[in-house]
């Protein structure tokens, strides 16, 4: 691990790192220049060849997504940059937006070149005030330097980037919720098909990509496919559908560790390595009880699953929903899983947009059941009921429009499956939780 050299975080912390001058001194915007000298399809090919997978949660191959746009479309085509970052435990987008914004804007410009977009919208989580100021300043600098605007660097490529502050809900980060919100409506995710690449923002072809994904694009174009593929985990030869997990990844470690923070590592590091080598171990000398591998909607790894590699396929093999946002939340052995799960359910019930019946009602019902268990009135059959409710929610059974519902159901399924004994004991003993709940927290 020692020889890994940070990529996305390489410049963070340097003096004046957010300024255009310092970025350019480090070779900034050379990638854009290179992309401008190539045909758009060539840029897409590079990204495709790199194996870059979306960092926003679903891990969808980035270059492949770009090829879903209609061929020879007269435009406009839009790029929506997803900076809504609301998955609990996740703060990697924020770290790079605040610390090195130009690598993101360069990535946006390269992506727009590739997909032939002339307008990009950055949908920024409302609460990120500093990110807003830093990004806006970086955008202004680029306009002044002809890195954005008309005929960029003397070419025929034109691009406008708008920074939009979000509407303050988790669901605004779901790509079609984001699009609706950008259009000025409630962020109610759209039914698919049509997918955004065919009919997205303002009913035009649209690509939605995460901040970290686009930051990776910058470095891929600058340093090449082979360099990118030298990091991470190659495809599983036994699984023809696995595209592998290449490149660097920003892991967010929070919860009961000594050194919480955002760490950059090649994809595939294990949960144990992260906690011990980066996070400085579990706090107060305690042991791990459970680990959230990538935001709470991914579920939980138990203490004996800590060697799971945190690449795109690792957490799935351990029964989690996926790698998600690679936000690792460590839960120590003094913590009640009933409390943890209640808090997950409270969040999801609060954030369900309310359009699909199973998600709207199921999230709140699970919250209510857990609230009752926490007050000492649980019944043993509650666990089966929770499993049944969780099992009937989500796009995986096919009962909802977006993935929030799966994300709400997954921690319930994982917690009750992996920690059933603890739940049963809690209920049997009529235990109660004194811990206050952050009812007003979002």
């Amino acid at each position: 691990m020692a020889e890994f050299e940070p990529v996305l975080m390489a410049r963070i912390g340097k003096p004046d790192a957010t300024s255009l001058a310092s970025y350019q001194a480090d070779g900034g915007y050379d990638g854009l220049k290179k992309a401008l000298s190539m045909a758009p399809a060539e840029v897409t090919d590079i990204v495709k060849a790199s194996g870059l997978r979306g960092r926003g949660g679903a891990g969808f191959p980035c270059g492949l997504k770009w090829t879903f746009l209609p061929k020879d479309h007269p435009g406009p085509i839009y790029l929506c940059v997803n900076a809504d970052e609301s998955e609990p435990g996740t703060f990697n987008n924020r770290v790079i937006m605040e610390g090195d914004p130009h690598q993101i804007i360069e990535g946006i410009a390269i992506a727009c070149r590739a997909i032939k977009a002339q307008t990009a919208y950055i949908y920024l989580r409302y609460e990120f005030g500093k990110s807003y100021r830093v990004l806006q300043n970086a955008i202004d600098e680029c306009y002044a330097a002809n890195l954005l605007g008309k005929n960029i660097l003397g070419t025929d490529f034109c691009l406008d980037v708008y920074l939009h502050r979000g509407a303050g809900a988790y669901i605004c980060g779901e790509e079609t919720g984001l699009i609706e919100s950008l259009e000025g409506k409630r962020a109610w995710p759209r039914i698919k098909p049509p997918f955004p690449a065919i009919e997205g923002l303002f009913r035009k072809p649209t690509i939605v990509n995460n901040i970290e994904t686009l930051a990776c694009v910058t470095h891929i174009v600058r340093r090449g496919v082979d360099w990118f593929r030298s990091m991470g985990v190659p495809p599983d030869p036994n699984n023809p559908r696995d595209p592998g997990s290449f490149g660097p990844k920003l892991y967010c470690i929070s919860g009961h560790v000594n050194k919480p923070g955002c760490y950059e590592l090649p994809l595939g590091v294990t949960a144990r390595q992260l906690i011990e080598e980066q996070g400085g171990g579990v706090w107060k000398g305690r042991k791990v009880k459970a680990v959230v591998p990538g935001g709470i909607s991914m579920g939980f790894l138990s203490a004996d699953e800590l060697d799971t590699p945190l690449d795109f396929s690792g957490p799935g093999k351990a029964g989690c929903l996926g790698l998600g946002t690679a936000a690792v939340v460590v839960i120590d052995d003094h913590t009640s899983m009933v409390d943890v799960l209640f808090n997950c359910c409270r969040f999801m019930a609060h954030e369900s947009c309310g359009q699909c019946t199973p998600c709207r009602e199921g999230t709140d019902w699970m919250r209510k059941i857990l609230e009752r268990i926490r007050s000492g009135f649980g019944k043993s059959k509650d666990l089966d009921l929770l499993m049944e409710v969780a099992g009937s929610m989500g796009i995986i059974p096919g009962t909802t429009i977006c993935g929030l519902s799966d994300g709400a159901a997954w921690p319930v399924k994982n917690a009750i499956k992996k920690f059933r004994g603890e739940f049963e004991e809690y209920i049997a003993k009529g235990m109660k939780s004194e811990l206050p709940v952050l009812v007003d927290a979002h």
């Binding site: 809900a169 609060h350 954030e351 947009c353 309310g354 019946t357 199973p358 709140d364 019902w365 995986i396």
Partner: protein
């Protein structure tokens, strides 16, 4: 013809029909329960009541199923689509969805207007479970009586299907309704101070599948199972919306729009919907009256009809060209035919006038944009012409007289002293159809016969008053603005001594037997070429007069399958 397989049964659909699974299943008489989907609104696929399994039958006969449930409303069918709505997985999903919908539902069926015609009741009974496993308190949400002058919201009965929201965005275009809050706290609401008072607002009550949106007019008036429905046509403008008249014990309680692709589609306007009060009015003319000298005296039908007949015949003998009849555009084709035929048979010189055609402003088209301007494509039109049958009555007058004379012509002739006797059929139940000054002019006539349902400046001074029936008391035909002839049907008895106009005129004309609209329609079709399309049974949707011989389109009929 493409074949679709619904629960193992093969059905054929039209080669270029675009159907979703719900519609295709309807063809196979299979109900796929649904809330959010409505034929005339955009697809949101959010209620998830319509989940089914779908697949495709391959040429070799094997069936490949999609490995998860899909919303039937969002899934189009094509040749060889396989729909399964009765598998264990589908039944479990239906059960789960209904349990979710009932979690916070107040279950106040005993006091809910919708009970008896509620899709939450019906689906719970057919597809749900008998009890709820919720142990915790239900969410309570405040009722919103302020959301409209005609509509009220029982917030916690809402199943969040957003049909009402989409109606105000897509059909009326006025956009008053919206969703506020998130998750299970989501509620329908208005923007503060901007109630939902557009002229189509009443429709949201009809399309609301549950008892959340209720009509203030109907609220707590009746249990719906006491009501009897009769299909008819709204008489309040020349759009001629197909409706149902719902009555109990001869009191009309509400109109509901009835699907008619040839008339208005699915909806109706509030002016029409709530424009029924006069039917039950205590002011109705209910007693035949005669004024030989001095004041009007009550009489009976056995006396008055021969009296009227003799008086008309006397006036004709005296001076036939001074005898006039005013035929109201609220009359049916049959009634106009009976009266015109009776009089013209007595003398060709009698003059027939078309009664007052009330026109208010311009046609009012929807949807509207934010500035209130209509935008294409039009989804609904409220006509400026506020009577139901100008075209039908005109066709009758033209047949007997070559051309029609207007009400202006009538009043000019009266002022000029050219009229001695007049048979006036009133009609407009909403606005006086003559002014007091015009009424005073009638004092110069030697004979005034008024057939009407409400008192007027004419009835008060008439020599003979024949109390007629409202449209809900009559059988016959209305022809709308586009030439669509639709049947109206008798829903209630006329109050007291009042009689349906068709019966009055049938007897006045000395016809034998009983009035029968269908038989008379055939007779009219035989004699009047402009109305020859009436020979065909008018059916549910009516016939277009300008395309005689063309019965109602079969595929249109097929589409009429009921949906919530």
């Amino acid at each position: 013809m493409p074949t679709v397989i619904v629960n193992g049964r093969e059905i054929e659909i039209g080669a270029d029909e675009r159907l979703n699974c719900i519609q295709a299943a309807q063809r196979a008489d299979v109900e796929i329960p649904h809330y959010c989907w409505h034929k005339d609104l955009s697809v949101v696929a959010s209620c998830r009541m319509c989940l089914v399994e779908v697949g495709e039958r391959k040429p070799d006969g094997t069936i490949a199923m999609v490995p998860k449930l899909v919303p039937g409303c969002q899934t189009p069918v094509k040749a060889e689509t396989v729909i399964v709505s009765n598998s264990p997985a589908v039944l479990a999903a239906q059960k789960a969805t209904l349990e979710y919908l009932l979690l916070n539902h107040p279950l106040d069926c005993p006091v809910c207007d919708q009970a008896g015609e509620c899709f939450l009741q019906d689906y719970s009974y057919k597809y749900g479970r008998g009890y709820s496993r919720l142990q915790e308190p239900k969410l309570l949400k405040p009722d919103k009586d302020h959301i409209g002058d005609q509509i009220t919201l029982f917030t916690d009965r809402c199943v969040m299907c957003t049909r009402c929201v989409r109606f105000t965005r897509e059909i009326s275009g006025t956009g008053e309704l919206q969703v506020i809050e998130r998750g299970s706290h989501a509620e329908i609401d208005i923007f503060p101070g901007e109630p939902c008072n557009n002229k189509l607002a009443g429709n949201v009550v009809d399309i609301c599948p549950v008892g959340a949106l209720c009509s203030k007019d109907f609220l707590y008036e009746q249990r719906v199972w006491w009501l009897e429905s009769t299909s008819s046509v709204c008489p309040n403008c020349s759009t001629g919306c197909s409706i149902r008249v719902d009555q109990n014990k001869d009191v009309v309680y509400r109109f509901k729009p009835r699907h008619n692709p040839l008339a208005q589609g699915e909806f109706m306007c509030d002016e029409g919907r709530f424009g029924y009060k006069y039917i039950n009015s205590p002011d109705r003319l209910t007693q035949p009256l005669v004024r030989l000298e001095g004041d009007q005296q009550p009489t009976d039908w056995e006396t008055i009809l021969p009296g009227v007949r003799a008086a008309i015949e006397g006036a004709i003998t005296a001076k036939p060209q001074a005898v006039a009849a005013v035929l109201s555009p609220w009359m049916t084709v049959e009634e106009a035919y009976l009266l015109a035929g009776y009089l013209k048979n007595l003398s060709k010189e009698i003059r027939l006038y078309l009664g007052p055609v009330r026109v208010v402003g311009d046609d009012d088209c929807y949807p509207k944009d934010v500035h209130g301007n209509a935008v294409a494509p039009t989804r609904f039109t409220i006509r400026a012409e506020k009577c139901p049958n100008r075209q039908g009555v005109e066709a009758i007058i033209r047949h007997f007289q070559g051309s029609t004379l207007s009400m202006d012509d009538f009043w000019k002739a009266v002022s000029a002293g050219q009229i001695d006797a007049a048979y006036l059929v009133g009609g407009d139940p909403h606005e006086p159809w003559l002014t007091d000054e015009q009424g005073a002019l009638l004092d110069t006539l030697k004979l005034t016969i008024v057939q009407d349902i409400l008192p007027s400046a004419a009835s008060r001074r008439a020599h003979y008053v024949l109390p007629g029936g409202s449209f809900a008391e009559r059988d016959g035909t209305f022809v709308n603005h586009a030439g669509l002839a639709q049947p109206i049907k008798r829903a209630i008895h006329s109050p007291e001594e009042a009689r349906p106009d068709n019966r009055i005129l049938w007897e006045l004309a000395g016809r034998r037997g009983l009035f029968n609209a269908g038989r008379l329609r055939n007779e009219i079709a035989e004699h009047i070429s402009a109305l020859q399309a009436l020979t065909h049974p008018l059916g549910e949707f009516g016939v277009m007069l300008d395309t005689p011989g063309k019965p109602t389109n079969a595929s249109v009929v097929a589409n009429a399958a009921t949906s919530p």
